[in-house]
Symmetry: C2
Subunit: 341 residues, 2 copies
Amino acid sequence: MSELRWDPLKQHWVIIATDRGRRPRDFLVEPEPTEMTSCPFCYGNEDKTPREIYAARPAGPPNSPGWKVRVIPNKYPALRIEGELNSRGYGLYDVMNGIGAHEIIIETPDHNRGLAELTPAEITEVLKAWRARFLDLRNDTRFRYMVLFKNHGLRAGATLSHSHSQLIAVPLIPPVAATELRICREHFESKERCIFCDLIDFELQSGERVVREFANHVVMTPYASCFPFELRLYPKRHGHDFALLSDGELGELAVAMKDMLGRLKGVLKDPPYNFILHTAPPRQPRLGKPDYWSSLEYDYHWHIELVPRLTQIAGFEWGTGFHINPTSPEDAAAFLREAEF
Amino acid sequence: MSELRWDPLKQHWVIIATDRGRRPRDFLVEPEPTEMTSCPFCYGNEDKTPREIYAARPAGPPNSPGWKVRVIPNKYPALRIEGELNSRGYGLYDVMNGIGAHEIIIETPDHNRGLAELTPAEITEVLKAWRARFLDLRNDTRFRYMVLFKNHGLRAGATLSHSHSQLIAVPLIPPVAATELRICREHFESKERCIFCDLIDFELQSGERVVREFANHVVMTPYASCFPFELRLYPKRHGHDFALLSDGELGELAVAMKDMLGRLKGVLKDPPYNFILHTAPPRQPRLGKPDYWSSLEYDYHWHIELVPRLTQIAGFEWGTGFHINPTSPEDAAAFLREAEF
């Protein structure tokens, strides 16, 4: 069982997940991309993975070929679904059991196509899988937040090259989300407006950092980008919850995502990247307290944040929380606007 | 001129340092270690660097061979020493000029010896250089904090292999330091004790995470380590300010540092790492306000934090602020205790 440990000085939680069993020798050799002769995410190898939780499957029984998108539990999960949290103190520290869910969304049966190469219709099927898993995991009241993310490329942490995204449900609101939610709440309480809506308005007027504007979405580089070619994809219409999007809205989002990923690939030649879906946490009426997040429909605004992994995070960044970015977001936006792809 | 930009949603500052001039093609190829035939940090190449600010130099005129430790301004600084901050608003954002200092401490004239291979007497000379630069930079009242750090190895961000550390003076208290200072202040105000002293007492009693105890220092793995084999070096005697240490205290610290680096090298075969010196910010009587940090001698406790760069920071970590650590700090401490080096 992994543990969540609290650092009272850094004010953060860490997941100590030793089930993956690392010893010093595991770190001696630079890891190589796992290119098995037999990829567990390809057709015909469904029995090499845990049993599927969800599939977009026009034909065939579960755990057989014929699917378009397939969701499975992670074989080596950072958090486990069984058990209770058992939150407790330990000296100055806090600790709880590593309860959560860790799922893999296999985005295509085709081993050699990345998310950027899928058609908008195929990407829409991936987005429907995300939505279905969000809605299902919300039924488990132990989970306070769901993190949907994608690691693309070895340098971005992808140990299998077959295109996939991941969903981790955690028993508390993570620090990055907590800060964002608090800022949104404060802005709404003082101005009765969404801070993201204000920010999107400002950026559309300025235009300097806009990469591509669609009818209902905008792709842009953030003004205070931490990394070169960092990107945000915002829905222009206010909405706090990705999981409430309609099929039609997911279809439009798929077009914007394909455009964003295609431009990035064109300008930077298929760079490693991470993206993260930021959306509202589930409501928690079970706690018997007034639901703190009940007004999120007004003050939070879901979006996607993408970070290409072009530069190293070094001692200064780690020690300070400051980032040094050698590429101005305005230059990055200009390169991406002119991308051929 | 670089800029410091404020993100109102993430609540952090970013240094946009485009003087280093990165274009998309700069990111296309994996960077290689710069092994010049002529290293600018070696004897005889003193004219290939900016003029020295400090040197431990038994013989010879400035900017010539004969030194043991040499401090120079960074040729490609993230922040520049000349100018005014000019803090201003921009839409929802804030921005100020990238004013600061960025110095390189060349730790040895020997191209092929790392910090772990230097003698305690040689490491003491490095520590004296750090102390001298801290004390000097405090005379510049634009600087609110100094970050002393070392990147060892290409994967840790070291672009030159010749052993060196870096000192960056910044015009505001960085987020990581601000959180730590705030927690220390709160603990002291409620308990009239230093939280680090409490933590060190607890760890010495437990012993599980102690790697090596010296008369006046302790090396240990943190309970909530974010990364495998993360380390802390604490002075056992309370002290808020590294720059106030005596020559004798620096000599003892050098012995503890050499031991820590030697064990790490022994167990993990010279891994890439970053370490950061955490110390109190300079006092700021100039602001004409009561000096907020005037009681730091009671509530802050300087120390060194070391992070081996063995695992990738992937989408989950970036998106949440949570870290998943596959090695328990207790296991890491056991391996390091038994290290042969």
